[in-house]
């Protein structure tokens, strides 16, 4: 749910990175944070356990620039991926404007991806959203690893509706800004339609 502020001429949108535990959501945000100019970003907040597993969320505010005289801000959030943090995931989805599903391309994580995508749909529906109606991008991450499922197969299982999808390696940054750009674009197009 975007926030349009005519008083300060700002527009704020919320984007959530979803996916199974350890698929690379936090790494996506860290890369974006590291590669963004100082004046365009706020502090990155990570509510994590001592072993750096996301406990509640990561948060990164970005100010991308102006559109039609309005400052455009994106608030990026990640969810904790582990199954038992479901209550927290639901909270973070509140007011979401766009979703990135980060899939872990490793063969042994295939089931975890499918389960997490189902969980995303359930949790959105519980709040009155439909995934099909939201700006939605799928990222096949960790393409650098040797034990990857071929993209065509991942596509068949995770993306039957053919939403925009792309390959990435969050560890090196490949595909990370492309993902952000793809989802931001859809969010702004939605706004244009006056959703």
């Amino acid at each position: 749910m975007s926030f349009i502020n005519y008083a300060s001429r700002e527009i704020n949108c919320k984007i959530v990175y979803y996916g199974p535990g350890l698929c690379g959501k936090t790494t996506n945000l860290q890369y974006i944070y590291n590669k963004t100019a100082q004046d365009a970003k706020g502090k990155m907040i990570s509510l994590a356990t001592e072993t750096e597993r996301t406990l509640f969320f990561d948060f990164l505010p970005l100010a991308l620039g102006e559109i039609r005289g309005f400052k455009t801000r994106f608030h990026l959030y990640t969810v904790p991926g582990q199954v038992f943090y479901d209550a927290s995931r639901k909270l973070i989805l509140k007011g979401v404007d766009g979703v990135v599903f980060v899939a872990d391309s490793q063969e042994e994580r295939l089931d975890a991806n499918i389960e997490s995508l189902e969980n995303l749909k359930d949790n959105l529906e519980e709040q009155g959203y439909q995934l099909e109606k939201l700006p939605f991008i799928i990222q096949y991450n960790k393409r650098d690893l040797p034990n990857c499922t071929p993209v065509e197969e991942l596509r068949k299982l995770l993306n039957p509706d053919g939403v925009p999808d792309l390959e990435a390696c969050a560890a090196t940054g490949e595909g990370i800004f492309e993902t952000l750009k793809a989802v931001a674009k859809q969010v702004l197009i939605d706004l244009k339609k006056g959703s």
């Binding site: 926030f3 197009i189 959703s195």
Partner: protein, 165 residues
């Protein structure tokens, strides 16, 4: 009440009314900082000694805090906890929910007291509720005629691409 997918919109008139109100609350409660946050973590307005504060992060964490305690409330059969209070060594935070939708945060130190803050917040909440109701009514009218006066109706692909340069 707004549906989950509709945007929150702020207009000049309501923004000015809100600022006047929270500035008055700041004075009358002897507090240091006051800010207003949407339940989704967007900062709506802030006043007081905000120069050294990361208000964007504060807004996001406040919303996370309210969301988490709201989850706790549900688990024990409460609707929500409408007031939260955090006591620090020097500074304290008083958080309350207004109109079910917006969060009012008051930061104060020993120059004020919990009793005074509570009293002033209670009074200000009623007025804030009225302004927010006006705002929601305006937003709904706006939603019925989407795009007509929206500055985003004319967004082009180039505009979007330019954001990422």
């Amino acid at each position: 009440m707004l549906g989950p997918q509709s945007s929150l919109v702020m207009y000049d008139e309501e923004y000015k009314r809100i600022m006047t109100l929270i500035e008055k609350l700041l004075r009358e409660s002897n507090s240091n900082v006051i800010f207003l946050v949407d339940k989704n973590g967007q900062l709506i307005a802030a006043t007081g000694e905000t120069e050294h504060l990361d208000t964007t992060s504060l807004a996001s964490l406040t919303a996370g805090n309210i969301a988490a305690t709201g989850g706790l409330a549900k688990l024990i059969g409460e609707k929500e906890f409408s007031i939260l209070f955090h006591e620090g060594e020097k500074d304290n935070i008083h958080i309350s929910i207004i109109g079910g939708r917006v969060i009012l945060v008051v930061i104060f130190d020993q120059r004020s007291s919990l009793g005074l803050v509570r009293l002033r917040v209670k009074k200000a909440s009623i007025e804030l509720g009225v302004i927010l109701a006006d705002l929601i009514r305006k937003t709904e009218i706006h939603d019925e005629a989407p795009g007509v006066d929206s500055p985003f109706a004319e967004i082009t692909d180039d505009d979007i691409d330019n954001l990422f340069n």
